[in-house]
């Protein structure tokens, strides 16, 4: 039976702090307690210094479009009536990258190098999604 509901994150013990912060409309990323390197996506060990100690650092919420695509065809029923829509890779000012969309932004406005800032959508009681907008 096809699942037509919106795909939402299923937080794990490793990723829960990211999603808990999003509910407070804060963007956080892992930061190594030893070598201070930022990393994303969440993972248990620092790939630079192999420390298992990390903290969750509040990110600036600002970044630059590193690459993007405009999806003209939906590959999931939830996007069936939402095409075309941009899918964007944002390079945060902290140096890590995140994938996001740009709600309400026309395809012609999307370009590599454009500055963006985070905003949040409260989807339900469980999940708030970081989304981004052009600055």
């Amino acid at each position: 039976v096809p699942d037509v509901s919106r795909p939402l994150p299923q937080p794990t013990t490793r990723t829960a702090p990211f999603w808990e912060a999003a509910k407070r409309h804060e963007l956080v990323i892992q930061r190594c307690s030893q070598c201070r390197a930022y990393r994303h996506y969440p993972q248990p060990m620092c790939p630079q210094c192999r420390s298992l100690e990390h903290e969750w650092a509040r990110a600036s919420g600002r970044g630059t479009i590193y690459s993007y695509t405009i999806a003209h065809r939906a590959f999931h029923p939830w996007w069936k009536d939402r095409v075309p829509y941009p899918i964007v890779t944002v390079e945060l000012d902290e140096g890590v990258r995140m994938v996001c969309d740009l709600p309400g932004v026309a395809a012609s406005e999307v370009a590599i190098g454009r500055r963006v800032e985070v905003c949040f959508e409260d989807v339900d009681e469980r999940i708030a999604l970081p989304r981004w907008r052009l600055v």
Binding site: H40, S67, T89, R97, V99, I112, L129
Partner: protein, 399 residues
């Protein structure tokens, strides 16, 4: 040429050979299950080699098919299975699986290895109808499911579109460059009666007029959705000499991975197929050959951009120069480096890369239609690319 740093597996050069290949018809629609397709291809490959299922003691099914070793062994009645592995690198699995088979037969762990590759890409796992299909669950997807899928980044065409877009931004690559690859592959498919796109010519104008699926990738940049399976039998070079067909020795083989290996968007450099770039020096080093020795290349082409970036990663041209490289018919039959001479995944069929292996073997055995034969073809290079810029490279030779 500078030798690759790191491990040295030159002892493996030429120690194993492909001795049997088989396939089902490549179709859009089938009544058969994926397992039945694999079994049909397996029997064809065994017949080609002059072996029976009783001779097989190593089995490596392709992960993307969902078929497992136990099902193949049960149906084929394989009673002395000694070696069974599964490679989990998506489209990059096939050549890595052959690497595993080489190790098994060259080391004496097993005598004869059977690999089966293929899927019901039209009748079941049809990406364009994702909501109706059932995809094989892949553990590698967990991170993307959580952090990318909620934004509509759900399928491979979308991941590779961002890599293609960044490549265009940095190097001036154009949609016409992608189109030249699509047109060359289609022309080759029109010389190949097995190709799903046989009898369907296509021009650069057709490519440019085809709808954008995920900008910058157009419909005619995408691989086909087809049903079908291929199978490959590998044995040691010594045993190969006693078998039915001229063996095709594996002179060089290597795999490489991206960093990090969980998502294209997280790559330090998403414009590079890092796995192939890392694997190529080892495969060439093992073979003792250089780029100019390669007579044809069968490059895994989930999308046309992958073909272009593969040419760069393999060192056939410099980084960023893949666009100009494919101009002027260089990758067409009769050109300097004929690429995907059966039509590739974009115009022959998407058999998870198994069809690229078969085409390389057929070119070296002189088993293709005369108009498709690369003249004096003595060597062939095969790649697979999968997951997130993982890659494997194999160099075959005419015995």
């Amino acid at each position: 040429m500078a030798r690759a740093q790191g491990p040295d597996a030159r002892w493996l050069a030429g120690r194993a050979a492909i001795v049997g290949i088989g396939q089902t018809p490549f179709t859009r629609g089938t009544e058969k299950t994926t397992l039945e397709l694999h079994l049909e291809a397996a029997l064809a490959a065994l017949a080609d080699a002059g072996l029976s299922p009783d001779d097989i003691d190593a089995v490596i099914p392709n992960e993307m098919s969902g078929v497992i070793t136990e099902e193949l062994a049960m149906s084929l009645g394989i009673r002395e299975l000694r070696f069974s592995i599964t490679i989990r690198t998506g489209g990059a699995s096939v050549v890595s699986a052959i690497q595993g088979a080489c190790l098994a037969v060259a080391s004496g762990i097993a005598r004869n290895a059977l690999l089966s590759v293929g899927r019901r890409g039209y009748s079941a796992q049809r990406v364009s109808k994702t909501s109706e299909g059932v995809m094989v669950a892949m553990p590698i997807m967990a991170t993307m499911d959580e952090f990318e899928r909620p934004y509509g980044n759900t399928v491979a065409s979308q991941w590779f579109a961002q890599a293609a877009r960044r490549h265009m931004h940095e190097f001036g690559t154009t949609s016409e460059h992608f189109g030249m690859i699509a047109v060359a592959c289609r022309a080759h498919a029109n010389l190949n009666p097995r190709a799903v796109m046989y009898g369907k010519p296509m021009t650069l104008a057709d490519h440019q007029a085809s709808p954008l699926i995920v900008d910058p990738l157009r419909l005619l940049d995408c691989s086909l959705e087809t049903d079908g399976a291929t199978a490959i039998v590998i044995t040691s070079r010594e045993r190969a000499r006693d078998l039915r067909k001229r063996p095709v020795p594996i002179l060089g083989i290597a795999e490489g991975h991206g960093d990090p290996p969980t998502s294209i968007t997280q790559k330090r450099d998403m414009t590079e197929i890092e796995g192939l770039r890392r694997a190529a020096p080892h495969a060439f080093g093992m073979s003792g050959l250089t780029r100019s020795d390669i007579d044809c290349a069968q490059l895994y082409d989930g999308f046309t951009w992958i073909t272009l970036a593969s040419l760069e990663a393999l060192g056939f041209c410099k980084k960023g120069e893949g666009g100009p490289f494919v101009e002027g018919g260089r990758i067409s039959l009769g050109g300097e480096l004929p690429v995907n001479t059966a039509g590739g995944l974009v115009s022959e069929a998407h058999v998870s890369g198994g069809n690229h292996v078969l085409e390389a073997v057929r070119q070296l055995r002189r088993e293709v239609e005369p108009e498709r034969q690369v003249p004096d073809c003595e060597t062939a290079l095969v790649t697979c690319e999968g997951d997130f810029h993982e890659g494997s490279v194999m160099i075959l030779a005419r015995e």
